[in-house]
Symmetry: C2
Subunit: 204 residues, 2 copies
């Protein structure tokens, strides 16, 4: 962050560019295979110039991951608070999760996949943020189960794991330039999670 004339802390433009470039390159090549020189080239500057903006390469991975988790936690938390019944809260969660994770797909993919390249301290911190987010998911699932909106014959932990399976793997294949919008995908995943892929037996 940078202090501007108005006294409020703001992220400098180069730093924002840098985080965006890092997200893209870390996702495309992996964190380890992305060099400082690639990052500099992406910004059109020399590699040494990067070190005016960051302390070390790992800082980018760390800040990226923290920001991605703060984003999804805030977006999903807000969506859930705004919804009425237990099942509506679950649907709001799925929508907000899909929308946020795919709107910032590079950062979310990197956060989920490159965590192991962080220093032990920072890794623990990021894991903590992830755990915090997963507890939010757990609460919504447990409440839906308590309200008889989700099946009672399956452990809540398993319902959560299956939901996160369904949501998280999407970052591997979703293309924002494809035919499916994020909202449409969220609809499909919601239906399949709640009602299943099986044909409904005729109710007559």
């Amino acid at each position: 962050v940078d202090t501007t004339g108005n006294g409020r802390a703001t992220a400098s433009s180069t730093r924002i560019q840098l985080l965006r470039a890092a997200a893209m390159l870390f996702r495309r090549n992996g964190y380890e295979a992305t060099t400082i020189r690639m990052l500099a080239r992406q910004l059109g500057i020399q590699s040494a110039s990067l070190y005016y903006h960051i302390g070390k390469k790992e800082d980018l991975l760390y800040e990226l991951s923290v920001e991605a988790l703060r984003e999804i936690d805030a977006a999903v938390g807000e969506a859930v608070r705004g919804a009425g019944t237990a099942i509506e809260r679950l649907e709001a969660l799925i929508h907000a999760h899909v929308e946020t994770a795919l709107a910032y797909q590079d950062a979310h993919a990197v956060m989920l996949l490159e965590l192991r390249s962080l220093s032990p301290d920072r890794m623990q911190e990021v894991i903590g943020l992830r755990t915090r987010y997963e507890r939010l998911v757990e609460r919504v699932v447990a409440e839906a189960q308590a309200a008889d909106a989700l099946r009672g014959d399956t452990a809540p932990r398993l319902l959560v794991l299956a939901l996160l399976n369904l949501l998280n793997w999407t970052i591997f294949w979703y293309r924002s330039d494809g035919a499916l919008s994020r909202g449409e995908l969220a609809d499909v995943l919601t239906t399949l999670y709640v009602d299943g892929a099986g044909a409904r037996p005729p109710s007559g």
Copy 2:
């Protein structure tokens, strides 16, 4: 492979050890962050000695990935051929997929996550094997849909993507020393995929 006295090609013991160690280390640290020296240390030899067994580091990633895909394709193909109705074939697919992917979890995780570190030619070949496997999944899903066992209001492509989401993300969190056996997990995922997580409305 190595030629023994009986004239048949067999994999040498060191090579098998090497592939196992590579799967574990590549999964734990990532391919790029795993050094030849770590691999050698794991086998109790010097790093230069590894080059008697392999041409280069990337060979290990390549062979690991091809073997993992051959395994799951064979196991799932056989399971599907042995099952009767369309829905039973789908259930057999899920079981065989979960059992195989988690029995050789390191190799499967590495194959799915470290693909980008392969040379372009080899990457294309591995992608080809993955596509081949996914087509098998697509056939089973499409047949179940045609037999009215899976819902007709959702594009088969989406039913496949959701199924692979549900199955593949499991490699991130499954622990073989945990309370849940592979078979039990497969049962849960089958039920949740077909019937959904929603509570069944009372049929009375």
